[in-house]
């Protein structure tokens, strides 16, 4: 047991991100990077599904299922990337309304979580007629939240 704890401690030391070792970035900056990384993965994963829906790349059921599963795993973990005080500290498109209207932000994040879970289920159909509407709902959840809570370019 002690050995396994020591192994775990060693494991932690080995993988602790450089970000922490440099004792540099603030907690706010770390959280901004964390959530941006998650949104980046969402975008990376939805991109090919959208392109397949549009017909610009060939339909590949395995890629849709794989990407949708990743999105469904990431979406529920985004809300924790917006703790109080993380509205500044690095370049961010987060609007202050996130923290002044957290109940609505939380609800919209819940919509995204459900939409990505539904897309993951739909993806298993292997049928773009089922996947398309589920994809549309994910896009709708993105847009609804961006409109209110993301800074315009």
């Amino acid at each position: 047991h002690l050995i396994s704890l020591a192994a775990a401690a060693l494991a932690l030391a080995l993988v602790t991100p450089a970000i922490a070792q440099q004792q540099g970035p603030s907690k706010a900056e770390q959280m901004i990077k964390y959530r941006q990384a998650g949104f980046g993965w969402l975008a990376y994963n939805i991109g090919p599904i959208g392109a397949m829906a549009k017909g610009t790349i060939p339909f590949d059921a395995k890629v849709v299922e794989r990407n949708a599963a990743t999105m469904a795993a990431i979406a529920p973990r985004l809300l924790e990337g917006f703790p109080e005080g993380s509205g500044s500290g690095a370049r961010t498109e987060a609007r202050p309304e996130i923290w002044t209207d957290m109940a609505d932000f939380r609800a919209k994040m819940g919509d995204l979580e459900r939409a990505t879970a539904d897309l993951a289920v739909a993806s298993r159909s292997g049928d773009m007629k089922v996947i398309g509407p589920a994809l549309g709902k994910v896009g709708g959840a993105c847009k609804s939240c961006h409109d209110k809570f993301r800074k315009k370019d």
Copy 2:
């Protein structure tokens, strides 16, 4: 059907990352950012599990299970972040050996994938005596790959 495709196309347009719209970063830079985002999420998620194993924060079975599940979802998606030609183009700790010895890199990524899957299973035990060794194996997979394929500071 046409409406659902249109909705999907709209969804895609809405969520297409700013990164693509600016027609700025190279494909290599995009892949470097993608894989770094994934590793960042791994580190973010393993951190608390390691701290619980060390006893520096209280054991919370739900957090362990949640974080381990996220790690198991991300690990299998990292290899695609290392396409040929993505060894430079942005700040990266990736060593050229990744591409000159891809078979071994791929094998080590497979070790990580299996270790995170095993940790996700172990996490459901709610027992640190089961979780600790599984965590140690994840750390071992990280270290084994870092030793050979990541640049030293």
